[in-house]
């Protein structure tokens, strides 16, 4: 019964699971080696197919948190709070993936695990800290309505900070070492590599939607259980 009702969710979940496996194959085997990379750096370059989609998904997730936070303060309603919290949680996981895969790629390519002169690295790290604070704040407030309001305020302020951190970090570190894949003139990679990247982006986005739906639903179910418990 539940299975039939949630058929579409099961299908999407299965699709994203298979998609991730296919993306793994495409990224590690099918994609051509990048020009100008040798040895370890050539292997590490393939992290790109997971690193970029994870960064995109993390950013998308925090954007959803921002929109849901605005909606909560504007209109109220627990569903917006649940959406904001769920999305932030998932965004934090993807951002963790970004800051972990980044150094693994950077070491063989740049020769260092980390550099402070690259604005994307700095922004990702600060982003992670802001949303870690967001999750902590949620745990530290007892009252439901108050937690939702505080989190919404931080969801807005934190997101507004992101472009400013990026701008500041760009001015601060003179050298930009990050590869620029998308430039004004279009995509700067081989067609086959672009196919893999696009596929991976689609799969990651799909996976985000599935996890978000599940997470939001789990939270609504928890609410239902809570109200059943207090009924008698």
């Amino acid at each position: 019964m539940a299975l039939r009702k949630d058929g579409w969710l099961w299908a999407l979940g299965l699709l994203s699971f298979v998609g991730i496996l296919v993306a793994g194959y495409l990224a590690l085997v099918w994609a051509p080696p990048a020009e100008g990379f040798v040895g370890e750096a050539e292997l590490a370059q393939r992290i790109f197919y997971f690193h970029v989609p994870a960064a995109w998904t993390g950013f998308l997730a925090f954007f959803v948190t921002f929109v849901a936070s605005v909606a909560y303060l504007w209109k109220g309603g627990r569903k917006w709070d649940i959406l904001a919290a769920s999305s932030a949680e998932i965004g934090l996981v993807f951002t963790t993936m970004v800051v972990v895969t980044g150094p693994i790629w950077a070491k063989p390519t740049w020769g260092v695990w980390w550099t402070w002169s690259d604005p994307k690295l700095v922004t990702a790290a600060i982003l992670w800290l802001i949303y870690f604070g967001y999750m902590m704040l949620r745990r530290m407030v007892e009252d439901d309505a108050r937690r939702a309001r505080f989190a919404a305020v931080l969801g807005i302020i934190g997101f507004a900070d992101v472009p400013i951190v990026f701008g500041a970090a760009r001015w601060w570190g003179q050298s930009v070492a990050h590869p620029i894949v998308v430039s004004g003139g279009g995509f700067d990679v081989a067609p086959r590599m672009l196919t893999v990247l696009m596929f991976s982006l689609a799969v990651f986005t799909l996976m985000y939607i599935v996890i978000l739906t599940l997470r939001v639903r789990a939270e609504h179910l928890a609410d239902a259980v809570e109200s059943l418990k207090t009924r008698e």
Binding site: L73, L137, R146, F150, A160, I164, V165, A168, W171
Partner: protein, 224 residues
């Protein structure tokens, strides 16, 4: 009473309460001084590297001691049960925010007024740069206290209370600290104004954006 007088009344109340004991100011000032002393030994400050390191140390001292003051701003009200009284006052919540924010900025600025000359003496810096650094400090202080006052009102209502504030405030304040340190260092080195223009923009932009956002959202934070 018009809006500005209400704001003034809230700020004046905070500053007068502080003047009676001078507890928070003393703690902030001594803490800032301690930070400078600790860094002096931790980084082995000498005449040759002082110019490179002092701007950063000053801003660590200002922001860390500012954190103490920001925390007390609402914890004192909460512990004495005077927050309810303040909320019952026939003033807009935004007047409470502005008043608190002004009082917090004033307290941070006052610490800086004492710390700046002391550190210039301690590290043998030329006093010619002082006036412009005071301007940077004023702008940095307002920006930090601007978001800080908002977050402080949130932190006081969490289980961890004062532990929460630095975790929320420092990540958000990173651009402000970058701009303030760059400006302080640039002014000490006597860089031309044009070279520092972008950092002024960043500092003033940060102040404006986060002041506006904090002003708009403070209502939701203080609502009971």
């Amino acid at each position: 009473m018009n809006f500005l007088r209400k704001v003034g009344a809230v700020a004046w109340k905070d500053l007068r309460a502080e003047w009676r004991t001078r507890e928070v100011f003393s703690a902030m000032f001594v803490f800032a001084l301690l930070i400078i002393i600790i860094f002096n030994f931790a980084l082995e400050l000498r005449a040759e590297n002082a110019r490179v390191l002092v701007p950063g140390i000053l801003w660590v001292a200002f922001t860390f001691s500012g954190m103490l003051g920001l925390n007390r701003s609402f914890i004192q009200e909460k512990d004495r049960g005077s927050l309810e009284g303040l909320l019952l006052c026939p003033v807009d919540r935004s007047a409470i925010y502005l008043g608190k924010m002004l009082a917090n900025s004033a307290l941070m600025a006052l610490v800086a007024v004492f710390i700046l000359p002391v550190s210039f003496v301690l590290f043998n810096l030329s006093f010619g740069a002082l006036p412009m650094i005071v301007v940077v400090t004023a702008l940095g202080t307002v920006g930090f206290a601007g978001v800080g006052t908002l977050f402080s009102a949130m932190a006081v209502n969490t289980r961890a209370r004062e532990v929460m504030l630095p975790l929320l405030l420092f990540p958000v304040a990173v651009p402000l600290i970058i701009a303030a340190v760059k400006l302080t260092a640039g002014i000490m080195d006597g860089l031309p104004v044009a070279e520092l223009a972008r950092w002024w923009q960043l500092l003033i932009g940060f102040d404006a954006i986060f002041f506006t956002l904090s002003f708009m959202t403070f209502d939701y934070v203080i609502e009971e």
